[in-house]
Symmetry: D2
């Protein structure tokens, strides 16, 4: 068992980390950090548990630590659910201090020597860990992408061989992506908000890095463009997106690619049976019915049509955030980087 | 004053027609039709009024007639809110019987001698009325497009000079588009349904006809393609859509086109002050805040970005259905076709 | 293992029965009935599965039978998810034909010789089975109450000793109570519908029977009144209700009663660890967070205040319908009535 | 024309004040206050307008002042949309400085010499203004009740002669009651929150004061009790409530009282044609369909049943807040207190 901690354990993504790690077969959750004013108190007394799964009682008695490197003496690996502006320095300090950091924050994603990884898509990019070590770091940082980008890149993994040059993608994103307090009911109820700050830019740049090629100790960007339009809709969990490849392949061949897809990893505890589920039904996937498939780790695709265009959907706070980080940690562990 | 009637006056679109015609300055609403079992009863006793505006008392005492030509002796013009499968024959019979028919149904939209008109976009297509008359009809049929198509073509009107060849459009459509009973709460609440039967095909074909050129007594299709992906979201009224032109023009020039736009019609009672409103705010338009602009007849656009891409939104049962038909009737009337 | 069937297996409650019985330790689900036009087809091909849990593959190949006694030769016990108007005759025929019938329908609930049972509340009322047998029936019918009544009677069970004479109850009920197609989105979204047909009457009469005393081979009605006001709110699953006892007992004593409550049954597979969970938090229970407690079988109470007044909430299609019937069947089975 | 100001003009209730006063026939809106950091800027530049009616352009150029007495030199009457904790001192200072204050805040409502008024219910309580003046104040404060209390007391006004002693009331309240940012979508979507801080206490105490009798220069409390249970539901605007009188009068007589009701005021600009609208339809009132009746100033009642019990519903930010204050000001003005 590897001792692990969670930075920022009381927020929406932090709670998901705690849920996923409370009974993890490889990781032993020993440390939870939060703001100064919670430090020293029991987790059960400072967290306002807002998930619709029961509070994990075995974690409740852990005393919360302040968010800094000194709090992490017991652990070898730390998950970061910190906001980007705080994450940057804390994560760097942790990595320099010898820790493995699996971060859901955006701060370091686009740095050239930091892997931005979706295990089923680009596990080989973990080689950047060695580049970080060459740069003199004792530990390392591995990041996962933005929630929408994860769903899209997983949906693209089976069809990356198609002849596309520019992807158009329109998202319909859940409110949980903005954190528990992020979207007021008065703002989104009976409404669409056609704007999510920085989201389009993230999808456009992160996708190119993730789907790029590792060569000469660096990631060479993927040879296509992404043009995104991102929108918030009144859905609690689950990001849905319409994707156009404008590829020349016939629909039947693309369908075969989805049905035959096998990811390049296996045996990780958080990995779902199907990383990408293909629907033939005309009206699926739907977030409310399909977001919990594979314990929230499966991305569903459907409505494959001429174009090539299709729909992709995945759980944004599990597959798109905490679950993505945990799966990265499992990959790192299985590949002996720890 | 011109005497008018409404075919199918008790349904969702029918009620909107009654609302818009109850105090119309040019049209005198005298006849309402519905199914056989309602015939002979007062409108107030057969309609289950579901709009959030008060029931128009001056219309309540009209006795409902059965849906056929014989019921329409008093009127010169009739609005059709019939379902497509019933509309086809009834509308044809009306037109052959000398009536002007303004139809919201899809049955006749794509027939070569029937105008498919959005007044601000292609008023000249009304010339097809003469073609119908040449074909021996006493009256005529004029149709308005599908609700999503209306919103999109209005949003395209100011920028039709741009250099686009293929439009990508993703819609986020309101439940009222399916009629009052069309979408169960269990189906759409906390959900997105990524499928609306025939909607994509309608947007792709109707747009090309509307934005085509009238020449040699016929409409020549517009020289571009549309690729649509249509989705239902938990919104009551107002269709929102993300549109990509992939045009070469700079953003500033396209913005100018939106701001300077003047439609080629004027003085019609149902015409809003602004047919297309341009938003500079980063998070607008939003259906709940903006759908009632111009009494529901204004289409709002915003989030103009490199690409060229932008958001368009309009009220689907007013601008996208009943209001569209009434505006068509006003145009017909002002151009002396009656 | 006892072979069982489900009458009306394709509807909303029927699907919940299938979910709960697919892997039941005591019952072997062999027979599913539906309308004539589905008969002979595989369940997977006729059901439109709308639950957010995966379809039970082991049940999918069962061929659906028509809804009548002849279809039930293989089974000893049958669950009825039929609409009331169909249930009356079919259930009677089944019971007369020797079957045990556990019914969620309202048709027979108030008949004097038919038990209306919530296992934790009035298991002794099962003695009416013997009365039915005395009346010459080979089999028997056992019913469970209306969904709201189940939640309320369970919440009352711990405090039935209090000095109340008239209960006031206001419900806030989920849309799933009306079946999948029962409530249009246009009707309930951003809205409250302050009316549910027959619901108040059911709560007022069923409660008095359930909480009555079995004496002299009959149920003597409970000596208090219920005055209900029932309302539909935009919630998918979970009925919430405000209950006033207007009892003299102090709050602390009533709280003790809730905390110490032990139901008079044990060891049934579908019985939750806690039949009634008491919340001290000021803002609980809430349907979205608490409806799945105890796999949907726990009723949650909270906000206990002077008055005595409190809030109760339970999952309406699990605890309030299919799960209630399955628990009744388990009780019947454990008490050797089969 | 009387010059008026609004304290706290940028919040949710403040925006409603601006909407209602922008074109008021008696009041000339000259002054708007907000926090220090907005002071000196144009209203259009500091407000984030969130109503679904257009921004009033004639008000947009007013420069916002800081919230204190010195800012109010131009006005004779000021409306307060301040939060309770700020309102207490500022309103007192304004009244002491000679201003008429119409306040929507709760700070002063229960003070013995301050009228708590709903014009249709207790206009005679304005006589407390003279008591304030006797206490040496140059100006005065008049308050309106909490939003739920206003809806309930108006619904009770026609039936105050009935023989009730204890009222039970269960509310289903809209999210706008908590201000624009008050309720996160993650908290209320697909949910009921059975708790609103202080709301039950306000309904129970304010009602007794409003429906009390003015005698001997003081308000004698009404001779009945109120027991409230308050709940938040996913509705944007409009508080719905179930009310039990447990009165002896027959339903028909109570219905007559509702139908014949005439309020004791007339001719005020914001007063609706009907202060209380009675519905015979079994499923009304409903917030989405009925909240805008009488420009949001009419309270609707319906579902009158044995008991006596019935449903009441009104627009919480218009009738229940800003509109209530404006109507109070009109009453004060018409009764020559200014």
């Amino acid at each position: 068992m590897i001792n692990v901690g969670v930075l920022g354990a009381t927020g929406a993504v932090g709670q998901r980390f705690v849920q996923l790690l409370a009974e993890h077969p490889w990781f032993n959750l020993t440390t939870l950090t939060a703001s100064e004013r919670s430090a020293g108190k029991k987790y059960r007394d400072v967290v306002k548990w807002r998930l619709d799964v029961p509070f994990p009682d075995n974690i409740g008695d852990i005393r919360v630590s302040p968010t800094n490197v000194a709090s992490l003496k017991e652990v070898d690996l730390v998950f970061s659910a910190l906001p980007a502006e705080i994450a940057k320095d804390v994560e760097t300090a942790c990595a320099n201090g010898g820790l493995a950091v699996c971060s859901n924050a955006s701060s370091h994603r686009m740095e050239p020597d930091i892997p931005l990884v979706v295990p089923e898509v680009n596990p080989d990019h973990l080689a950047l860990i060695d580049v970080q070590r060459d740069h003199g770091r004792d530990g390392f940082i591995v990041t996962n992408p933005n929630c929408s980008t994860i769903v899209m890149t997983l949906a693209l993994a089976p069809v990356r061989g198609c002849s596309f040059q520019k992807i158009h993608v329109a998202t319909m994103q859940a409110v949980s992506g903005a954190g528990f307090e992020g979207v007021p009911a008065m703002g989104i109820y009976d409404n669409v908000i056609p704007y999510i700050g920085q989201e389009e830019q993230k999808m456009e740049t992160e996708t190119i890095k993730i789907m790029g090629t590792f060569r000469n100790n660096a990631v060479q960007p993927a040879p296509f463009q992404v043009s995104a339009s991102c929108h918030r809709v009144p859905v609690l969990d689950g990001h849905t997106m319409a994707i156009w490849l404008d590829a020349r392949e016939p629909v039947e061949k693309v369908k075969e690619a989805f049905l035959r897809y096998k990811p390049p990893i296996e045996g990780l505890p958080t990995q779902p049976k199907e990383s990408v589920h293909f629907f033939d039904e005309p009206d699926r996937p739907q977030p409310r019915l399909d977001r919990n498939r594979g314990n929230g780790m499966t991305v569903s695709v459907g409505r494959l049509r001429e174009g090539i265009r299709f729909i992709a959907m995945g759980h944004n706070t599990i597959r798109g955030a905490a679950g993505a980080s945990v799966l990265n940690a499992e990959l790192i562990s299985s590949r002996k980087y720890l």
